[in-house]
């Protein structure tokens, strides 16, 4: 990865993370109706912490319902978190001495999964792209000019497309427009929430390459959310694995894909379709659906589907511990914690030492 050019907006220098998330939490209270007695609580995102380094792409993977999209919406403050702190380049978001939410939204943008629903059907695409800059006080002519230049950047000829309406475009073209819209505020961080998942495979590849180019051209940082492990591997520098609202493993793409430590990550990877026969694993694939997020299992949430679950896994929740410093590898599993009480805990260490 080539070092991105120094951004004049940069404050803390290269070493300071662009985004530092601590203890982010969102529970959804299910109401049973009129009397609004809480019928249940969905622990959608349950206290996750991570950082995003300047210029990198952090991939987030997990099954549907694990809290990936909620995390994205929490970061954008489209929904309010119950707890947690988000620091953008040294400034805490949403506090009076830090960065206002409006200011944050100029620095951080998002591309949604549904390319059609995320464009206003009544506006020509030029207006959709220019909307953000207009909101932030840029004159109409200048905002339109920016829209045209961005359309060109995302590979759509502005002379042909500016006055078109979303229904006149294909899914791939619409997603290009959505990317242009996200870039219109000149953000430093862009969250892709399953941005290519609905696209046809051939179109997906084009859009992924476009994203790579834009990242270099604009010096962007990405959070790339997807359930598609191949795509995440292709795009990411580091990968974060979520399971039922918890962060279970995080590390460089090489570490996660080649030396996964968490049984869940291993199961996910073994279920991943691959052209390479050498990559076939003998790991048990995941069976069944994730448990009900309303009443998640005690202790380690994965234990109900884990082949190595022992008594300690039901009793205590595994902490996220460092597993390898060089690959920034952290994992939340009792087998990786020496002295946790799990029979494989020491063997785990031995294995790590041997590798």
């Amino acid at each position: 990865m080539s070092p991105p050019p120094l951004d004049p907006r940069d404050r803390g220098g290269k070493a300071q993370p662009l985004l530092a998330v601590t203890g982010l939490k969102k529970y959804f209270h299910l109401k049973s109706g009129l009397l609004s007695s809480a019928a249940g609580v969905v622990q959608s995102v349950d206290g996750i912490s991570f950082t995003v380094r300047k210029g990198e792409t952090l991939g987030i993977v997990g099954e549907s319902g694990c809290g990936k999209s909620t995390t994205a919406r929490l970061l954008m403050r489209l929904i309010d978190p119950d707890a947690g702190e988000v620091i953008f380049d040294g400034e805490t978001i949403g506090t009076h001495d830090g960065m206002s939410i409006r200011e944050m939204r100029r620095n951080m943008q998002m591309v949604f999964q549904d390319s059609y629903a995320s464009l206003n059907p009544r506006l020509p695409i030029e207006e959709s792209i220019a909307f953000g800059p207009r909101v932030h006080g840029i004159p109409r002519a200048a905002a339109r000019e920016r829209a045209r230049s961005l359309l060109e950047q995302v590979g759509l000829d502005p002379n042909l497309y500016v006055r078109r309406y979303p229904h006149e475009l294909s899914g791939g073209q619409r997603q290009r427009v959505n990317i242009a819209r996200a870039l219109a505020l000149e953000p430093r961080l862009v969250i892709m929430d399953e941005a290519v998942s609905a696209l046809d495979k051939s179109v997906e590849a084009q859009v992924l390459n476009l994203l790579m180019d834009l990242k270099t051209n604009f010096g962007l940082t990405y959070i790339f959310i997807s359930h598609d492990l191949n795509v995440v591997q292709y795009m990411s520098d580091r990968v974060l694995v979520m399971y039922l609202g918890k962060l279970v493993e995080i590390g460089t793409v090489e570490a996660i894909y080649n030396r996964p430590r968490h049984p869940y990550t291993r199961a996910l990877l073994s279920a991943m379709p691959s052209m390479d026969p050498a990559r076939r694993t003998t790991q048990p694939p995941l069976t069944g659906d994730p448990p009900n997020p309303i009443n998640p299992p005690s202790g380690c949430r994965f234990r109900t589907r884990c082949a190595f679950a022992e008594e300690v896994c039901a009793r205590a929740e595994p902490k996220l511990v460092e597993s390898d410093e060089a690959t920034l590898h952290h994992v939340a599993c009792h087998m990786a914690i020496p002295g946790s009480g799990h029979s494989a805990a020491t063997r785990g260490i031995a294995e790590a030492a041997a590798s």
Binding site: S32, G33, L34, L35
Partner: protein, 317 residues
């Protein structure tokens, strides 16, 4: 299911209370002092004061409402200002007469509407479909009080085969289910059935057409299921929507009969209301409207419950 039932009941109570509040405040919508409607214009001040006290109008509004509601709950709707009769008794007689019309009109309008709607939904674009669509739009566009007049002109004035007004010989107390009396129902029932006929036809047509275009119906056909068996599937899936419309329409029939009853001088709630309005007989007005509106609320709840019971997609837990 029981839990759902209870929840639905709990939801209905505030609505019903709101309805009583609206009906209660009708008195205060009326221009001037409510007592001026009751007392003779030249009544001395002390009589007016006493009347106010008797009717409870000297107390603050929330208390008045409380007293009124308390009486209404036990069935005491007060007495008519004009005739002194008990409102509750008057309303009961009127409601039962209105019911006769409404039930008959519902039977006629619903069955024709279901038939037409089904045929139209099945033969979309065909001649029958166009006929049904025409019937539907006519049904919902025709001023039914005028249609009543036109029917009277044709069948009473020109042909002289059916009575133009009333309930046949004697008052409603002497009603008998014989042709002599029942023939007086024919015109009002036909008139009243036109709106539900239009709306039911339209809804059923749209619902059936929508279901037929669904992939699962095509799958059923592809599986080689006969037309009759497909029809059963369609009917089952259309039932919840259609039922909801039928329920609402029955409620509207009760309200809508007011104008028709005036046209045919049918001694139902409409007739009663009409008289109450012209005599400024507020207790009768209130009582009639309260009974009809509460019935409508109850009907809505029943429709909801039935819809839930037959719709597999709605969870009943």
């Amino acid at each position: 299911m029981l839990l759902y039932l209870i929840r639905r009941l709990v939801y209905t109570i505030p609505i019903a209370l709101g309805v009583t509040l609206v009906v209660f405040s009708l008195v205060h919508l009326a221009p001037g002092d409510p007592i001026s409607a009751i007392a003779p214009a030249d009544a001395p001040p002390e009589v007016v004061e006493r009347l106010k006290k008797d009717y409870g109008y000297d107390k603050p509004l929330p208390i008045q409402y409380g007293i009124w509601l308390g009486r209404a709950i036990v069935g005491d709707l007060g007495a008519s200002v004009a005739t002194g009769e008990r409102v509750a008794a008057q309303v009961m007689v009127a409601v039962s007469n209105t019911f006769m019309l409404a039930v008959a009109a519902a039977l006629l309008g619903f069955s024709l509407g279901l038939l037409l709607g089904f045929i139209a939904g099945y033969s979309q674009g065909g001649a029958l479909d166009r006929l049904a669509t025409g019937v539907a739009v006519t049904g919902i566009s025709v001023p039914h009080y005028w249609l009543g007049m036109v029917l009277v002109i044709i069948f009473s004035v020109e042909l002289g085969v059916l009575p133009a007004m009333g309930m046949g010989e004697g008052s409603s107390a002497e009603w008998k289910w014989d042709w002599l009396h029942m023939r007086s129902m024919v015109l009002p029932v036909i008139t009243l059935s036109v709106i539900p006929l239009g709306i039911v036809t339209r809804t059923v047509r749209a619902t059936v057409a929508d279901i037929l275009s669904q992939e699962y119906v095509q799958a059923l056909r592809a599986k080689g299921l006969g037309d009759r068996r497909v029809l059963v599937h369609v009917a089952k899936n259309a039932a919840p929507t259609v039922l909801a419309v039928l329920g609402l329409q029955f409620g509207y029939l009760l309200g809508g009969s007011i104008l028709i009853e005036t046209v045919f001088s049918w001694p139902g709630t409409g007739f009663l209301l009409n008289n109450a309005i012209f005599r400024r007989d507020i207790p009768v007005l209130q009582g009639t409207i309260l009974v009809l509106a509460l019935f409508f609320v109850l009907l809505n709840m029943l429709v909801d419950l039935m819809q839930t019971a037959i719709d597999p997609r709605i969870k009943r837990s």
